[in-house]
Amino acid sequence: MYNFEIERPGTIEEAVAALAAEEAQALGGGQTLIPTLKARLAAPAKLVSLAGIAEMKGVRSEDGAVVIGGGATHAEVAREAAETYPALAALAGGIGDPAVRNRGTIGGSLANNDPSACYPAAVLASGATITTNTRQIAADDFFQGMFTTALNDGEIITSVSFPVPQAANYQKFEQPASRFALVGVFVAKFADGVRVAVTGASEDGVFRWSEAEAALSADFSADAISGLSVSPEGMIGDLHGTPEYRAHLVKVLTGRAVSAA
């Protein structure tokens, strides 16, 4: 780790001001950034911790949606959304291990947009809205490829609003070493249709499987997708799975998510 300055603002306004400095970097729960710093793969001059901002904490219900503060930890979501949005709570409760869940935040995860992270699947499948210090961004516009999002420099995710579906489920198939999603599929059934989001599989990051959405909107059963297939083209191939394997898992996990929803 190289030396850096650290600021701990108490409000969003202060955080935005701090992030305006040269080479400043926002620090959420630090579950990706801190290991990166320890490996000396990043050298920000200043870290701006978002952990002390009260208005970014907590999980609340609002107009039929579950609204999660950008600074809420995975453990808080697992606990506090358990009744209002059980599929989301289960996803949060399955991220990493207790140490990760008690430090890592939803805002940090979404801003990082790791192609194998769990949260992007929930956000995209739920059609959630990401609120920042300057605007609201629809999930469909937010994720723009591996480690890339619609966020501007210095923009902070202050909360995420999840419409609560009629039925939902997340199926995660773990990469054996990291226990990130080798493939993860989140299925959410709303009155006006079904959304299916896939993480871990694609070289473009999280994506919606539109053929499955159409089939499941007509018939919400695992059988409805039995005739579909996923192309391995554009899927990630690495030590832990070929593109063909990942494409296969997308379908298997989608079926399981529908059955479990």
Binding site: R40, F173, P176, A177, S178, L239, T242, Y245, L249, V252
Partner: protein
């Protein structure tokens, strides 16, 4: 006899400090005035060092001195402790292994320069300021490519990348070929024994200290065998005589073989402490451990098993490529040869065996012993090929094994070892009962109803432990003896200290060894303390590996305690005015046979040190004895393992639903510790079978260089084991009748897991005869797609 002697499951006394954070590990030790070293390591697998300029780095804050190879001129290389002779009678090719790279780098992780500075961060900062220009050369990673004509050479001064081409038993070669040609059935299997990273919980640490007043050197290091490090480093690298060099290995957090070896970092810290006039400390990071700890396994093998019409084994022929990495680590050459070829008979009568091993240099981290060391590689291929043969010939795999079991002992194998004792049918019978093999079909049906494939894998294993008879291993190329030592010191008030050359880094010696001594004297084990890990206060010992501590080290303790008891009886005879021959020792009391006279243990020990009423004319005062024990033979633990798996047909994910181990370890001193040793070995064996794999890309970059990609087993990956060691055929040649238990689990379990998965797939109609480890979901799924 007070409770807690041989056979008692005493709780591990050392766990009190380990579990309460009171352990004293090497990194916990800080010496006044210490400086810190950071090693600049190569990030290129093979290249020429064109420029190495430390001048800017030397001006960085806190830097005391920067070392490069030039500072080690006249210093020896890191020695190899075993010389293998090839099948033509020539010695292996043995390259120089410098402390810091000389002109060329040969693997990612090799040390090029070392910065000694006031703080670890300053040392690291300065290391980044070193100007380094390496001209990259083509790397050799694949062993079969490496031995082809014209392949780039890892060591320019050697003839090729072939370290040796070993044949065993060379005289049998033609007879084996002939037997295979004429056999009724030959089963052939090609397989990979996957490369592993040991990953002990505690990374390596070294602290070098030089006392300018006395000229004494001290090295604190995370070693399984401090005396071996003292000998190798002192005599071969730095030229420091043993009486001026102390090596201390305090609490060590696991080794699994990877802490046997003498590493360049140890020599560096010892050397640099004198050069800079300050203690020098190095603590390895986990990332650094992945590219600097010796790795394990990495064999590519073809095995052929010839059988007659009834399934009797006629001959075995194997050809193995064994990866040495870029340099020869301390015991690397012995692992694929004498620890592997000699076990190829397994538990079976096979009249003819020929083992060929080609050891190959590649641009990868050195490979050496890892829990089991050669014996897992032997068991895996043998037990897999037997399973395949059984399926090909339509014979039940258990029946095929039984048909070929060795049943008479001692048994001289065709691969140079003599099994003293064993009962393979007994462990198999026990296993079938434990695993409820009779109920398997019913469980299979239940799994089917839940959409899962179920399979059962059964296999045997044998290992040669209690390493080793010194004269024998000397003939085989070992450059060291393999005895063990103990000094038993009795204090005036009756308590004892056992100073052992064995080293505990998780094995529970501090609990088990006192049980032995206490049992012999008839006192409570709490009266016995164990001292280990410091060359200054233990006799010359060879350390702990090869499941040898109780069999060899424990035997030395028995011999020393016998000497103590013999002398104590003389003292007791004097005190009771009786004949020495009539003195008996039981429950800590000396009695005179046929009388009611007695003196207590403590009275005798007090007399030894307060010799007022004492036969001084015949006997020295004091009560302290040393023994060195050199075993007459290896020990041969053996057993039978059963693994039951469920495979998800949609994803290929394997779940181990049950694992049973029936082991014959001979006599048992502490059953609870034995259970724990087996559990740990099974965890590592299952890790190898399902999860772990060190993978290099074609440029020699370790793709699995962190726990993000190197999959370690976790509690949820293993079942609740059923282990049994009630089948006991005691070792016939050591005084405790013990065989050793530390490696068994890691040796016997990988074939059980693979046998079980292949069984599950075949029962589901897949034409799959083998899958290479690790049996990751993607590999199992791919196998199902192909057949």
């Amino acid at each position: 006899m007070p409770d807690g002697g041989i056979g008692a499951s005493n709780k591990r006394r050392e766990d009190v400090r380990f579990l309460t954070g009171k352990g004293n590990y090497t990194d916990d030790i800080n010496i006044h005035g210490q400086a810190h070293v950071h090693f600049l390591r190569s990030d290129i697998a093979h290249g020429k060092i064109k420029r190495l300029d430390t001048s800017d780095a030397e001006k960085m804050p806190g830097v005391l001195r920067i070392f490069t190879a030039a500072d080690f001129e006249g210093v020896g290389g890191i020695p190899c402790g075993w010389q293998v002779t090839d099948r033509h009678g020539n010695p292996m090719q043995e390259p120089k292994h410098p402390v810091l790279a000389e002109g060329k780098v040969r693997y990612v992780g090799e040390m090029i320069a070392a910065v000694v500075a006031e703080t670890p961060a300053q040392a690291r900062d300065a290391a980044e300021a070193i100007v380094l220009d390496i001209e990259e050369l083509p790397a050799v990673i694949d062993m079969k490519e490496a031995v082809k004509d014209g392949a780039p050479k890892v060591h320019d001064e050697l003839e090729s990348n072939l370290c040796y081409d070993w044949g065993f038993v060379e005289e049998n070669r033609e007879a084996v070929d002939e037997a295979i040609r004429g056999a009724h059935h030959v089963t052939t299997l090609e397989l990979v024994n996957n490369r592993l990273v040991a990953n002990p919980m505690e990374p390596r640490v070294a602290i070098g200290i030089y006392d300018q007043a006395s000229g004494d050197h001290t090295l604190y290091t995370t070693s399984q065998n401090p005396h071996v490090i003292r000998l190798l480093m002192g005599a071969f690298v730095l030229g420091i005589p043993e009486h001026k060099l102390r090596v201390v290995s305090p609490d060590v957090g696991g080794g699994f073989g990877s802490k046997i070896f003498h590493y360049a970092e140890e020599a560096f810290c010892t050397f640099a402490a004198k050069a800079v006039g300050r203690p020098v400390k190095w603590t390895c990071s986990r990332s650094e451990a992945f590219i600097s700890d010796a790795q394990g396994r990495d064999h590519v093998t073809k095995i052929e098993l010839a059988l007659d019409e009834e399934g009797h084994f006629l001959a075995i022929r194997t050809e193995t490529y064994a990866n040495m990495g870029a340099y020869l680590s301390t015991f690397a050459p012995s692992v694929p040869t004498w620890l592997h070829g000699t076990l190829m008979a397994g538990n079976y009568r096979t009249p003819l065996i020929y083992v060929n091993v080609k050891a190959v240099f590649t641009n990868t981290v050195p490979v050496d012993a890892y829990r089991g060391a050669g014996r897992p590689e032997a068991s895996f291929q043998l037990e897999r090929v037997i399973d395949k043969a059984a399926r090909e010939m339509g014979i039940d795999p258990v029946e095929l094994r039984r048909r070929n079991f060795i049943t008479e002992f001692p048994y001289a194998t065709p691969v140079a070892v003599e099994y003293d004792t064993g009962d393979y049918n007994a462990t198999m019978d026990k296993l079938l009962e434990m695993a409820d093999v009779a109920g398997f079909e019913k469980r299979l049906e239940e799994s089917r109803k839940r959409g899962k494939l179920r399979g059962l894998g059964i296999n045997c294993y044998i290992e040669a432990c209690g390493i080793a008879p010194s004269n024998l291993v000397g003939q085989l190329g070992a450059r060291a003896g393999l005895y063990e030592s103990a000094t038993v010191r009795v204090n005036a008030t009756g308590g004892l200290v056992v100073m052992t050359g064995s080293h505990s880094h998780g094995q529970g010696h501090e609990t088990a060894f006192p049980q032995v001594v206490a049992d012999m004297i008839g006192i409570d084990p709490s009266m016995v303390e164990v001292v280990h890990g410091d060359t200054a206060n233990t006799p010359m010992g060879m350390g702990t590996y090869g499941s040898r501590s109780l069999a060899v080290g424990g035997s030395a303790i028995v011999r020393a305690t016998e000497k103590i008891i013999a002398k104590a009886k003389k003292i007791a005879a004097h005190l009771m005015e009786a004949s020495e021959a009539d003195i008996e020792l039981k429950d800590g009391q000396f009695t005179v046979a046929g009388t009611d006279k007695s003196v207590a243990w403590g009275d005798v020990t007090l007399a030894a040190y307060v010799p007022h009423n004492y036969p001084l004319e015949d006997l020295e005062p004091g009560l302290e004895e040393t023994a060195f024990y050199d075993p007459a033979n290896f020990t041969y633990p053996a057993g039978a393992y059963a693994c039951e798996v469920e495979v998800d047909p949609d994803t290929g994910k394997v779940e181990i639903v049950s694992f049973c181990a029936a082991d014959d370890f001979g006599n048992i001193v502490n059953p609870m510790i034995v259970d724990g040793q087996v559990h740990g070995g099974l965890g590592q064996g299952i890790g190898q079978a399902l999860l772990e794999h060190a993978v290099y890309d074609e440029n020699g970059q370790l793709l699995t260089g962190s726990f993000m990609d190197y999959a370690m087993p976790r509690a949820s990956d293993v079942p609740f084991y059923k282990v049994d060691h009630s089948c006991q055929t005691p070792c016939t040649h050591n005084p405790l009748g013990v065989k050793g238990c530390g490696e068994a689990g890691a040796i016997g379990s990988p074939p059980a897991v693979v046998n079980a998965v292949v069984d599950a797939l075949q029962r589901a109609g897949h034409d799959v005869t083998h899958i290479d480890m690790p049996l990751s979901p993607s590999r199992v799924w791919a196998a199902m797609q192909q057949g």
